[in-house]
Subunit: 312 residues, 2 copies
Amino acid sequence: MHTALGEGAEFDRIRGIWRRIGRVGASLGDDCAVLDLGGSRVAISTDLSVEGTHFERGWLALDELGWRATTAALSDLAAMAAEPRGVLVSLGISAEMPDDWAAEIMQGAADAAAAVGTNIIGGDLVRSDRILIDVAVIGALSGAPVTRDAAQAGDQLFVTGLLGGPAVAVEAWRERREPEATARERFVHPVARIREAQWLRDRGVTAMIDLSDGLYADAGNIAAASDVACVLKVKSLPVHAACAGVEAALFSGEEYELLVAIPPEHAEDIASEFHALFHLPLTRVGDVEVGHGVALKHVAGLELDIRTFQHF
Amino acid sequence: MHTALGEGAEFDRIRGIWRRIGRVGASLGDDCAVLDLGGSRVAISTDLSVEGTHFERGWLALDELGWRATTAALSDLAAMAAEPRGVLVSLGISAEMPDDWAAEIMQGAADAAAAVGTNIIGGDLVRSDRILIDVAVIGALSGAPVTRDAAQAGDQLFVTGLLGGPAVAVEAWRERREPEATARERFVHPVARIREAQWLRDRGVTAMIDLSDGLYADAGNIAAASDVACVLKVKSLPVHAACAGVEAALFSGEEYELLVAIPPEHAEDIASEFHALFHLPLTRVGDVEVGHGVALKHVAGLELDIRTFQHF
């Protein structure tokens, strides 16, 4: 489950009810459900994007819309270091939309699936006034899945990639400007960090989450699930070049980068090997400490309005 | 994939494109995709219902909506005689709708899952102007799945339950009447024939499909996939008592009953055992013959407008 553009903490109560109804013998709380199917363990997740809530039609090309929605779901598999095995796409388009729209959206979805070695295996197609796309993904788990609930005080926190690009793009669109090209690309073509996650799992990271709610919120998710405090050093954030300040990097949702907790003894080696292997930064952004919640360091002189960004 | 109320053959071209894009090493064409996960075979399907396309808000209570959407997806598992192992529910409700609506819809979904021995294991929750619910189901396959493509000339065609109720209910709502109670119940509380399907599989039926498009259309799906003709005897149809004629039983979609092809030597025994075991009729409705398409017998004196019902 993700917090979408235009959603926020107001859905938390509903999610609480939902989990109460749903929690009957299977895992909820991490983004994927895990099923034990007699010999195989399977991770499965679904991610729904609706026009007007998660995107506006003019922002993205149709294939970009399919790519983005599919990557959002695949990113849930990355968070558990699962291997994608198939994608189902449920698509709603209206009778007034040209037929080819469905095919273009599907092509983007198929490309996103192919980019991580899987493919579209099914779906549904219905009429809807607004474009909507719901992507279900299924992945195979080998070994124990990495979850968000095992971070230990003393671990160091690292994040993949550069943060803030999607928020900068959305801000531009909302102000009816064309976004800076690299920020736009981060919004329309996020990458599910599947191989990166599997590599990090094999290196013994203690907890992992994909950044769908934003660094600040997802650090909070790790803190709550692991019963620890996450301390983020604001000066250390890997901020996308299109960002004017650190806010977007802290609060921008739908990054689909990974936040990982790594035991301190190997953390530096892992980060430098990761960078050499994936040509992607793995940046230390803070520490796991005894306590609760998320604390920010180095915020003197910054005016951060967390509430504003929760409803971004 | 199903043909929804308000959809029709006009989506066929898009579905063709879709399948071309999707068909990269996995099965499409039956309602479930089948994945081989090193030791376990898994059937997975998704079914999207959108307010205004598949239902109107006043027709159903919220829990009925959740039940119906979940059963529609579970019925895809029944069609392959798969054992349900988990349900994911993606739900869209608007900010103006009371919080409890989501919980009520989810309760209905959870009840439908529990009715076939499974449960809700995950999902997504977003904002949407119109209520929408997309249900993904995952099931375990033991032995070869029953599919729609292996009916043989000489087989007899049987259908479970009584047909036409959902169409009668929808017709009443569209005419702003309250539907007859048992017809309404067929629309709001369809049953996924999970146990029945597994029993029929074990008895050696050759082909099976769940009636989501309607008897006439789904007989056509078996005929096309199996390269045979399906001959339906209109006088023999098990028509729901609320129906004025046979049209609704032939063309009513979203019945979620099973249409099965059974080799003739055991067909009568199977039908009588089935009825005794499940307290549900298993009615012979026709035969599989050499040829193509669907033929109707005993239609003298009936005025059947197939085209009308394709867009029902």
